[in-house]
Point group: C2
């Protein structure tokens, strides 16, 4: 499968889950996964899900503008760079963000998308436009 | 050495070189290195240096705002996320950018910084503020 298509499908899946059922994101992380959020690091599914669950908004909507993908390392991983904006309520200004996902390669015998675990995220919330 | 300190030193070295002697960046790339610039991919030192050399400005000044670092993969690499702005002339507005570097681990016997080769970059130029 085309790596760019896999990356886009993963990003669509990730942000649709983030916007509709944030708690389910926990299934995408492994113990080695790390989230860097505004300079603070969280490691492992429990810590990452705890941080994402504690964000100070209940509803949100991501608008993805760009998805760039490159091969990452000798083990078949991918580096996925996403930029876009997030709106946390009908009265709120959209906040621009950039994010990096580093999904692990699929496990043997499983589909590429569903086993894109080991996600590493870096989220920088930029100023409202 | 602390990985965050290595990442910051690498970023300072990279952008100082970019701003003062852009052609010298070619020495940081290997054949497997890839640059994604505004959605277009360039692979290997010659193609990457050619693209960077062809950018439509002769002078520039990067202002780095954030540097985030995570371990990347089982071989000791790093994932470095940079955000900031670039000004391409005294009369020009700064352009915000985000960039990802994926430096390879240092070779045996060499210093960590100077052998941070195999850089992968993704540069998204956002709108002027």
């Amino acid at each position: 499968m085309d790596p760019d298509a896999v990356a886009k499908a993963f990003v669509e899946h990730y942000y649709r889950t983030f916007d509709t059922n944030r708690a389910a994101l926990v299934g995408l992380y492994q113990e080695a996964s790390m989230l860097t959020f505004e300079g603070h690091k969280f490691q492992g599914p429990a810590a990452i899900a705890g941080k994402l669950g504690s964000l100070p908004f209940q509803q949100c909507e991501h608008q993805i503008v760009t998805v760039d993908c490159q091969p990452s390392g000798p083990t078949g991983g991918m580096l996925v760079f996403v930029s876009g904006s997030i709106r946390t309520g009908p009265e709120e200004h959209p906040i621009k963000f950039s994010q990096v996902c580093n999904p692990a390669p699929p496990r043997s015998g499983s589909s590429p998308l569903l086993s894109l675990v080991g996600v590493r995220l870096i989220l920088i919330a930029c100023s409202p436009r």
